[in-house]
């Protein structure tokens, strides 16, 4: 603990009381001196007049008779008094007598008594003057003042001492104890002020209680705050850790889409791993990152308009060597005291998920062996096609295709050979139709082909012919075995008017069976009049 030069309260009080008492004493002494001097002067005046009264008649006789002996007697008598410094007698007939003590005094106003004739009061015959002894007044007054000063000093000093002792014992000492204890207490410590047994019912006691209560509250607050701070530190550390180590990209955008804050993972997520977080700051995020920046800007606009966060899958700009190209973006508006309106966002790589989703959808819609559409997918697509069509559109054609002799190949060469044949046939079917057309395997050796848009009967017939030829080409199922298949195709044309799908199937089915009935490998189309025309394709070689 530092050593502080302490100024004790009671010492201060003592000093103050002493000086004030001294001042008062001095003032009262001076006042007393002045009063006493005045009083003494008045007294002197009275005494002088009394003296004059005493000697007046004799002095008058001396003046009347011009008798210097009597005059000198009078003056001598006057000078015998302590208060008389000088006495002068003069008469109108020329008598001038003066007597004085040899003391040094400043000039002072004296008393002059006019002398009248002892036999005729009216006649002025001379005067008798006395000058008082100034030293006498002064000494008198000084003596009185000194006594009074001494008296008051002693009284005041005694009172001050008593007050001091009382203050010291009943106020200063307990206060010092409190102060010292308080000085030694550190904030948040368990220590408390000891009670003052003699002051429990006065202000000091109350002070101690209040201080203790304050210390109690302070300690509670302190420990609560300490705990809270630690908790916050832990959370902060965790959050910081998450921010630094998460694989998700975290960022803060200003209102115009510029990056204000980024975490280390962001660059990697947005397929810009060569840019450090520092280099990313200030860049326009939508323009820099996304294949369709307008989508991101739209997302920001939506987020700006509401309190909830908005989410969107976004495609990244194509970069040569980057494998990730899809991110999931969560964006929410924040109001920052520093930046005003800004956006807080998280992006993470969802390329794998998108790929997986695509593959799942593919698997669901496609025949696993031939990669053609499966039946449900084909039927769904067909329903969509029919459903969206209006009467004015060009017709579409539906081919039902059954392979000839497939069962025999399967039985003879085994399932593997059969599968191989199916894959080959599927590839050939695909080659025969446009990319926009639909080729599906309905199951076993049954296929469905839908030619969409602008299909005339001749065009359908041509495609059917191409398919028959393509299917009938030899297939080498092993180094030594080559097989040939045929195809029976039934064609139904949706002639520009809406027709039930079942109806189409039925028509195509009937046509296909007609081909099979007439010896296979060919195609048949049912005409408007209900007749079915079969065209047989010879299998070459």
């Amino acid at each position: 603990m530092e050593t502080v030069k302490k100024h004790y309260l009671h010492h201060k009080l003592a000093k103050t009381v002493f000086w004030v008492a001294l001042l008062f004493s001095a003032i009262t002494s001076v006042l007393f001196f002045i009063t006493e001097l005045n009083r003494s002067n008045e007294k002197t005046l009275v005494m002088l007049n009394q003296l004059l009264d005493t000697v007046e008649s004799t002095a008058a006789i001396a003046a009347y008779s011009n008798n210097s002996t009597i005059g000198e007697d009078v003056l001598k008598g006057l000078l015998r008094n302590d208060i008389v410094h000088e006495a002068r007698l003069s008469s109108t007939q020329g008598l001038q007598l003066a007597k004085a003590k040899d003391t040094e005094v400043p000039w002072q106003a004296g008393v002059v008594r006019t002398l009248h004739s002892p036999f005729g009061e009216a006649e002025v015959i001379g005067s008798l003057a006395i000058t008082p002894e100034a030293q006498y007044n002064l000494l008198e007054a000084r003596h009185s003042a000194l006594l009074s000063g001494l008296n008051s000093s002693v009284l005041i000093g005694l009172t001050a001492l008593i007050v001091l002792l009382i203050v010291r014992s009943s106020l200063s000492l307990p206060l010092m104890k409190v102060s010292n204890t308080l000085h030694a207490i550190r904030v948040g410590e368990q220590e408390r002020l000891g009670p003052l047994p003699r002051n429990h019912d006065d202000e000091l006691g109350q002070l101690v209680e209040d201080i203790n209560r304050l210390l109690e509250t302070l300690q509670e607050k302190f420990s609560a705050e300490h705990g809270l701070r630690e908790e916050i530190e832990v959370i902060e550390r965790q959050l910081r850790n998450i921010f630094e180590t998460t694989s998700a990209g975290i960022f803060l955008l200003d209102a115009t889409g510029r990056l204000l804050t980024v975490n280390p993972a962001l660059g990697k997520v947005i397929a810009l791993p060569h840019l450090s977080p520092k280099e990313l700051l200030g860049q326009n995020f939508p323009e820099l990152v996304f294949a369709e920046p307008e989508l991101m800007r739209e997302l920001m606009a939506i987020a700006a308009g509401r309190d909830l966060s908005v989410v969107q899958d976004l495609r990244l700009k194509k970069r040569g060597d980057a494998s990730n190209n899809w991110v999931h973006c969560i964006l929410s508006r924040q109001t920052d005291a520093l930046h005003g309106v800004c956006f807080e966002g998280v992006v993470y790589d969802i390329t794998d998920r998108i790929v997986a989703e695509a593959s799942i959808r593919h698997e669901a819609d496609h025949d696993s062996l031939t990669a053609l559409f499966n039946r449900p997918a084909a039927e769904r697509l067909l329903a969509q096609l029919i459903g969206t069509r209006t009467g004015a559109e060009t017709p579409l054609a539906l081919f039902m295709l059954d392979l000839d002799f497939f069962k025999e190949i399967n039985d003879t060469y085994g399932h593997d050979a059969g599968d191989y044949v199916l894959v080959e046939i599927a590839a050939r079917l695909k080659n025969c139709v446009r990319a926009s057309d639909i080729a599906a395997r309905l199951g076993g050796d049954e296929f469905l082909i839908i030619l969409v848009d602008g299909v005339s009967a001749d065009y359908a017939r041509q495609i059917a012919k191409d398919i028959c030829i393509a299917v009938s080409m030899p297939i080498r199922i092993s180094p030594t075995v080559v097989v040939r298949l045929g195809a029976s195709i039934g064609i139904a044309i949706n002639g520009g008017r809406e027709q039930a799908i079942e109806q189409l199937y039925k028509v195509a089915d009937q046509a296909m069976y007609e081909v099979k009935r007439q010896g296979r490998h060919g195609f048949a189309m049912s005409l408007a009049d209900g007749n079915i025309v079969v065209e047989k394709i010879p299998i070459n070689g």
Binding site: I61, S65, T69, Q93, F119, G120
Partner: protein, 129 residues
Amino acid sequence: MAMPVPQADVAVIAHIKSNFSSLTAKQVQDIFMGRTRIFPNGKFALPIDQSSPLRAEFYEELTGRPVEQINAYWARIMFTGQASPPQRLPDDEAVLQTVRENEGAIGYIDKTRVDGTIRVLLLVQPWKP
């Protein structure tokens, strides 16, 4: 206590040849109380007192003071040795005699005793405060 004094006027007299006709009461008083020893004309004055009852009347009427005070006054002066009271004669007759014979003499007598041999300078009235 002073005896009741017969109310007789007192005449202040001087030598017949004195060249002034009258004196004021104060001038008379100064001469008799020893304050001055000369007349207003500069001549030496010789006051003559007397021991008769007229003396008390004279001084009382002249100064307004009882004669005892006048005696005390002279006693005090005499004590200093610097002066002495006027010479005292037994009665009016002796005073008249002395005044007649001395030119500077001044005395007082009962008014009824005044004659042509002397000059009356002042008739002393009873003193009025």
